[in-house]
């Protein structure tokens, strides 16, 4: 009887374990057939985790890559952006990440969870000098490159040319940023006050400067100090001008903005200028038939360097991939052919400005040409670990300034120790990664 009972218990245990295992039966990028680590023409399945919303791009990318690499099947899993880092973190902890993913968290590079691509870049002779350097900052760590991308997302100043013409104000330059004071003057000039909210035209949207301005306005060059930077006189002036635009009615209040949304206001012709990202703004402006232009965001004061915050899809290869060579091959494909497909399929700006077709994309309109010019000014950024969490108290500080509860200097002085504490904690967490 005993052996029979042992078999029954083992069977039950096996059933439970099977029930608790991944339903697709795959492991570490395996194809479910038990065949792993196959190269040289053997069938290989690569897994890629990415954000949702690439309905046009992904199917073509997969089709073209598989056509070029007949032995490789690409499986793309779309994951909501909010949960993405958590999902990758837990997959890494469980030892089951995909072969490739969007590597937005540089701590994954430091932890050795992502493979460097230097050998691939050299072998494929990929010239990174024509890639957007600010976006590529997110792919670099300790002189190594860990990821490549296919598009450029960039924070720029978009404006409505008709509203500028109506006010008789010259268009902003695509290469020379306005100072914050010049920006405020223009915003006041192009505003069209009206008691009827639906007919009002605001000069701009009073966005909190910390998310679009050069991080050097808020942090030291090594990214370790914020006190004395985020609350120095020029930065306080930056906040004073932006919050003043809201208080003076040249920019919508937070609640008006929250309900209506920047792109809606800009594309509806109710805002003359807005600091926004090219991926959303261009689509909204063109769909609504607005004659638009683009320029770099304003700078703190005359002589300050131009800054264009940029990003890309940052696809890298996870170190535990059993098909690392094939996965690197895919990243190289994305970083080269993928850039061409971005233009062809998604009508978006590629990461590499030298991509064939980029000039054609820019020639579609003056606005697009200006986007190309402005984006070309992007340069490497200061690294601040956990930037969004570190700077989160500044949202409240900015609200207090806009509401007139505190002066910008008071609000920034009040927030500086908190942001510095957050920064110290973020560096401590960063340094604990090994």
């Amino acid at each position: 009887m005993r052996p029979r009972w042992a078999i029954v218990i083992l069977s039950v245990f096996a059933l439970v374990v099977a029930a608790c295992t991944s339903s697709d039966g795959t492991e570490n990028g395996g194809d479910g057939t038990g065949v792993t680590g196959v190269t040289g023409g053997e069938p290989v399945t690569l897994t890629l985790w990415a954000f949702e919303g690439e309905e046009a791009f992904f199917p073509t990318l997969k089709e073209r890559f598989e056509a070029d690499h007949p032995n490789i099947t690409l499986e793309i899993t779309e994951i909501p952006e909010d949960n993405y880092a958590t999902k990758v973190d837990t997959a890494l902890a469980a030892g089951r990440p995909p072969d490739m993913g969007l590597t937005y968290e540089q701590r994954w590079f430091k932890a050795g969870a992502v493979l460097p691509l230097d050998d691939l870049i050299e072998a494929k002779s990929i010239d990174l000098t024509t890639y957007n350097q600010n976006a590529m900052s997110g792919c670099r760590f300790e002189d190594h490159v860990y990821c490549l991308g296919s598009y450029t997302g960039a924070v720029l100043l978009f404006y409505n040319k008709e509203l500028f013409d109506a006010a008789g104000v010259p268009y902003p330059s695509a290469t020379e940023p306005m100072t914050i004071d010049e920006f405020a003057t223009v915003a006041a000039q192009v505003s069209q006050p009206n008691q009827d909210l639906a007919k009002r035209v605001w000069g701009t949207v009073g966005e909190a400067p910390f998310w679009w301005s050069d991080p050097i306005t808020h942090f030291s060059e090594d990214g370790r100090t914020t006190q004395g930077y985020m609350n120095d006189a020029p930065t306080a002036h930056l906040y004073d001008v932006m919050s003043g635009l809201v208080r003076d009615g040249y920019a919508p209040t937070g609640s008006e903005f929250e309900l209506l949304g920047t792109e809606d206001l800009l594309s509806a012709g109710q805002v003359a200028m807005a600091i926004s990202d090219n991926l959303v703004a261009i689509d909204a402006l063109e769909t609504n038939g607005i004659d638009w232009g683009a320029a770099p965001v304003p700078i703190e004061s005359s002589g300050a360097p131009v800054y264009v915050a940029s990003w890309t899809d940052q696809v890298g290869v996870f170190a535990s991939s059993e098909h690392a060579q094939e996965a690197k091959e895919f990243v190289a494909f994305l970083g080269t052919v993928g850039n061409e497909l971005r233009i062809e399929v998604a009508d978006q700006l590629p990461l590499d400005s030298a991509t064939p077709g980029a000039e054609t994309w820019a020639a579609e309109s003056e606005g697009r040409a200006e986007v190309m010019e402005a984006v070309a000014l992007a340069r490497e950024a200061v690294f601040v670990p956990g930037f969004w969490d570190v700077t989160s108290p500044l949202w409240d500080s900015y609200d207090a300034m806009v509401a007139g509860d505190m002066t910008p200097q008071e609000a920034l002085d009040d927030a500086a120790p908190v942001v510095q504490d957050n920064l110290d904690q973020a560096w401590e967490t960063w340094e604990a990664i090994s």
Binding site: V8, C20, A85, D89, L92, R107, S255, G386, T429, S434
Partner: protein
């Protein structure tokens, strides 16, 4: 007396038959998926989280033992203090209010009026809506400039209505106000309690000349106390666990000046945003201990204020 008989006389269990043993084994066998699941997915993580609370672990590097450091760090943690303040404020405001509102509503729903079933259904409807949808809806209604709540307040002469979710002092009351909208689910539980009260007691009170308030105070409320104990426990536990509404209305930073930084939201932030899983585990254990103390206190005091009808028969 033979020895086995003596042993039986001293309380030893009688020897089980083979059939009884087989039945016992079969019982364990059928329960084993659940037992294994509990061990692997409940007890295992609980023990792991206890151990992790003594470590510095960021999920992607090896955990480093730090002893009680995480617990010591809480004393100097601004967000920890804020999250305790917010959670306690909410619990003190929401739990009694929801109880009173629930009982009041249930009392009204217990009246014999035409169309009462329709009223009950309508009042229960918010309870079946998704919490996320409700939060998004209320966020728009409570918009300080354009939301319908402040438009009504302005229309009735309140020139400077609260800024609700954008105000550090009004954000928690705004969440409580939203919670009141869903009080119908609690009222249904009270309604079940009310309908279990024997009508004979009300008839006797009526004969004795008791008025409505005395009847409520001396009959309805005492006989509702077991239900009240249940909803109080659920309410307190729920107040300690607020997350989704706070996250949707205030984002991960917990709204304006951390006004909605509830304890569980802060715990989630520390783990999943700041990558401090050891510290987040320590926060979880502090919550468990505090919740356990509060629940034990409620149970200990319940003998003084909870009346079970069967006690009257003793």
């Amino acid at each position: 007396m033979t020895e086995p008989a003596a042993a039986r006389g001293h309380g030893q269990r009688p020897r089980r038959t083979r059939a009884a043993r087989r039945e016992e084994r079969a019982g364990f066998l059928f329960a084993s998926p659940w037992l294994i699941g509990t061990l692997v997915f409940l007890i295992g993580p609980i023990v792991a989280s206890m151990l992790l609370s003594f470590t510095n672990w960021n999920l992607i590097s090896d955990a480093k033992w730090e002893g009680l450091q995480n617990y010591r760090d809480m004393f100097g943690d601004r967000d920890f203090r804020q999250s305790i303040k917010v959670t306690l404020f909410y619990a003190i405001l929401a739990v009694p209010l929801f109880q009173v509102a629930g009982i009041a509503l249930a009392t009204l729903l217990n009246l014999r009026l035409r169309g009462m079933y329709l009223f009950r259904t309508i009042l229960f409807l918010p309870a079946v809506l998704s919490g996320v949808a409700v939060a998004v809806l209320w966020a728009q209604m409570l918009n300080p400039d354009l939301g319908i709540v402040n438009q009504i307040l302005r229309a009735i002469g309140i020139d400077d209505p609260p800024r609700w979710l954008q105000s550090p002092s009004w954000a928690v009351p705004a969440v409580v106000l939203m919670g009141l909208w869903g009080v119908g689910s609690g009222a249904i539980i009270y309604l079940a309690g009310l309908q279990n009260i024997p009508p004979a007691l009300y008839q006797a009170a009526k004969i004795d000349g008791a008025r409505t308030w005395r009847t409520f105070w001396h009959i309805t409320l005492p006989l509702l106390t077991p239900t009240l104990l249940f909803t109080l426990l659920i309410g307190v536990i729920g107040a300690f666990q607020v997350f989704d509404v706070a996250y949707i209305l205030g984002g991960s930073r917990g709204g304006t000046r951390g006004a909605l930084l509830f304890y569980v939201l802060n715990m989630w932030n520390e783990g999943f945003r700041n990558g401090r899983f050891g510290y987040a585990s320590a926060l979880a254990w502090v919550l468990v201990v505090v919740a356990a103390i509060v629940i034990i206190l409620i149970f200990r005091t319940s003998s003084r204020w909870v009346y079970y009808e069967s006690e009257g028969d003793r």
